[in-house]
Subunit: 336 residues, 2 copies
DNA sequence: TCGGGGCTTTGTAGCGCTAAAATCCCTGCA
DNA sequence: TGCAGGGATTTTAGCGCTACAAAGCCCCGA
C-alpha cells in the first residue's frame, strides 16, 4: 500500500494517474457523474478517497467561470434576529447545491469591503440586508453584474429583493393597541446609522393615530448601541412628554425587554399600567415575564427566498427587479 | 471618452491595454506597489477605477497558491457569546491584510461540510470552535495540511489552539461562592451534543467542594436548546434534591437569566435566598436585575490570537502545536 | 566614453481545472 | 462484412492571474 507517495498536494492529475484515466474523467466523476460509466466512477471515487483528494474549487471556478458559493453580508450577530434568516439562507443554499458563506459588516464601509471581497472571490451571488449601501458598493455591483438580493426591503429593489411591508406591520401593531383600548401610544425608533431601516414606521404610526384623532407626538429616537439600556431611557423620555402614556411600540424586542425591566423597577404593571409591544420575536420575547407581544417577520422564509432568487438567476430563470413579499405575523403574548 | 467598450468582463489584460503597460505591471500595482514607479502606479490605478476593475482573486489564488481569506466555522449566532470572538478575528484579519469569512455549522456534520468547503476554496487557514470534530474532518485537515486553530480549547491542540482554562475558571467561581459564605452549591451543565465543551467543569466543581467537605451531588444537566427555559427546569430539579440549595453555578448567562426569572416568580431574593453565577458575560448579564455575576472569557483576545496564529503560520513564522491561553476574569455584580 | 549596478518593466510558463471538440469503441442493422 | 450511431473517454485550449527570469533603462564612477 505504498501508494500514497508524498508528491506534494493531491491534484486531479494525480488521481487520474493513480486511477489510470484522464483528468477529464475525474472531473466528470465529480461534476457530471452521469457521463461516466459506473465502474469507472467507483474506481475514481475510491482512488480519490484513498489519496485524500479535495477538488480545488478555485481552479474549477476559474476554468468554468461558475461558482457554487453565495456570499451573505450580515450586519450583526449580536442579537438573534438574523438567526432564522441565516438558517433560511443556509437551508435553501444546501438544498440547491450551493454553499453559503457569511461576512459580518457593522458599518456601510465594512459592507462595501465585504462586497468587494465577495466579488473578488467571484461568488455566484450576494445577499445583503437593507437597501442602504455606499455608492462605491453599488457601482461595483452594477459594473460586475453579480446577482444581488436585498433583504428586509419592501420597495424599489436595486436588483432583486425580499422583505415585508413595515408600513403594513406598523399599522397592524397600532391597530392591535387601539383595539385593546390604549389611547396614549408612544413610538420608539432608532437614530443614527441604522435609522433608515426604521424610518418608514414613523409615518405609518402618525397616520394611523391621526386618523383616530389621537396624539402623535409621543416619539423617541433611541441609540441602538445602548442595547437593553435604550429601553429605560426611552420610557423616561416619553414620560417627560406625557406621564400618562399607556402603550409603547418598540423597534426591537431588545429595547422592549429593556422597557419591561424598567417597568419592573418602577413597579408598573404590564399591560395594565402600560402596554409594551416589541418587534422581531427574539428569543427573549417568550422567556421574559410578562411575555412580550411582538411582531415576527418571516425571516426564515426571507432568507430562503433570497437564496432562491440568486440561484434562479444563476440558472438563468428569472429577470431583474424581482421583489418578494415574505410577510409577517403578530405573536400575541401578555405585554399588550 | 468612448474608452469603456463593453468587451465582456474587465480583466487585468484589459486594464493593461488601456493603460499601455503589461499585465504584470498591473499585477504589481495591486500586489507589490513598491515595485512600480509611482507615476505608472497612479496611471494604472486610475484606469482600473475607470474601468471598474476588481482583481479576480480566484485566478490570483490559483496562480500564486496563496490565499488572503481565512475561514471561521462558528457553531451559533443565536446568542451573543460569539460576537466578541468574531470581532476579534475580524479585527486581527483586517489588520494583517486578510479577509475573514464565516460559516455557520450547528452540528458536527455541518462543521465537516464547512471545513470541506473552506478547503475546496483553498483558504489560508481555518478557525474552529472546540476540539470535537468528525474523523472525516480531521482526516481532511491533516491530509491537506491547512493551518487550523481551535478556540475555547485548553489542551492537546490538533494543530494550534487558543483558549482559557475552564478548570481554573470553575475553581475561581466556586471559590468566590465559598468566600461569600455559600455552602449548598449547585452545578448546572449541559447534556447532549455540546456537553463536551462543558464536561471539564464538573470534575473541577466536585474536587473543589469535596476538598471542603461539602456536598457535591447538587448537579443537573440541562438541555441547551431550552434556552432561558432550561433555568427554571434546573432550579426545580435541584430543589428536589435539596430544597435548601443556596447557590447555583450556571453554564451560560442565558440559563442563569432563566434562573433569575424563575426566582422572581418564586419571590426568592437574589443573592440572599440563593446566589446565581453565570458564564460568558452576555449582554443580558448587565441588564437584568439583579445584575448577574458572571465569568467573562477574553473572547475578543481569543479570536484575535486565533487569527494571528493562522497568519503567522502562513508567513512561516511559527511551528506546530501552538497553544495560547487568553485568560478570563470574573465580573462581579449583584447576583452572587 | 564605457561598463556595472540598481531599479523598472516585460516575457514566459504554468497554477488545477473544465467546456467543447475530437476520438474511440461497441452495437445493431443492411 | 461494412458502416452508421451513440455513449464513454480523451485531447485541446484556455480561464485570469502571478513567480521568476530576462530585458531595458538610467546614472555614476573610472
Amino acid at each position: 500500500m505504498a501508494k500514497t507517495q508524498d508528491t506534494g498536494p493531491v491534484t486531479m492529475q494525480s488521481v487520474a494517474d493513480a486511477a489510470g484515466v484522464s483528468p477529464m474523467t475525474v472531473s466528470n466523476t465529480f461534476r457530471h457523474p452521469a457521463r461516466v460509466l459506473e465502474e469507472t466512477r467507483l474506481k475514481v471515487l475510491k482512488v480519490a478517497a484513498d489519496l485524500g483528494y479535495v477538488p480545488n474549487h478555485v481552479a474549477g471556478n476559474l476554468a468554468s467561470g461558475q461558482s457554487r458559493v453565495i456570499g451573505a453580508v450580515i450586519p450583526s450577530i449580536k442579537n438573534s434576529s438574523f438567526y432564522k434568516y441565516v438558517r433560511g439562507m443556509q437551508d435553501a443554499a444546501t438544498a440547491r447545491g450551493y454553499q453559503l458563506v457569511l461576512k459580518l459588516a457593522e458599518s456601510l464601509a465594512q459592507e462595501t469591503a465585504a462586497i468587494q471581497t465577495f466579488i473578488g472571490l467571484r461568488v455566484a451571488g450576494i445577499a445583503l440586508v437593507g437597501d442602504e449601501h455606499e455608492d462605491a458598493a453599488i457601482d461595483l455591483m452594477r459594473k460586475t453584474g453579480v446577482p444581488v438580493v436585498e433583504s428586509w426591503v419592501d420597495q424599489a429593489p436595486f436588483d432583486m429583493a425580499v422583505g415585508y411591508s413595515t408600513v403594513a406591520a406598523t399599522r397592524a401593531m397600532i391597530d392591535l393597541l387601539l383595539t385593546a383600548g390604549y389611547r396614549k401610544i408612544g413610538f420608539v425608533g432608532y437614530a443614527g446609522a441604522v435609522s433608515h431601516r426604521f424610518a418608514e414606521r414613523l409615518p405609518a404610526f402618525r397616520e394611523r393615530l391621526a386618523a383616530r384623532g389621537l396624539r402623535t407626538d409621543l416619539i423617541h429616537l433611541a441609540d441602538e448601541t445602548d442595547g437593553f439600556g435604550a429601553g429605560p431611557k426611552a420610557l423616561e423620555a416619553l414620560c417627560r412628554i406625557d406621564p400618562e402614556i399607556d402603550a409603547l411600540l418598540c423597534p426591537t424586542d431588545i429595547l422592549a425587554a429593556g422597557v419591561l425591566f424598567e417597568c419592573g423597577r418602577r413597579n408598573w404593571k404590564v399591560p395594565q399600567r402600560i402596554a409594551v409591544a416589541g418587534w422581531g420575536d427574539y428569543e427573549i420575547a417568550s422567556e421574559i415575564t410578562p411575555g412580550l407581544t411582538t411582531l415576527e417577520p418571516h425571516t426564515y422564509d426571507m432568507g430562503h427566498a433570497a437564496i432562491q432568487a440568486i440561484v434562479d438567476r444563476a440558472d438563468g430563470k428569472t429577470g431583474k427587479g424581482l421583489l418578494l413579499d415574505t410577510g409577517f405575523h403578530i405573536v400575541r403574548r401578555d405585554s399588550a
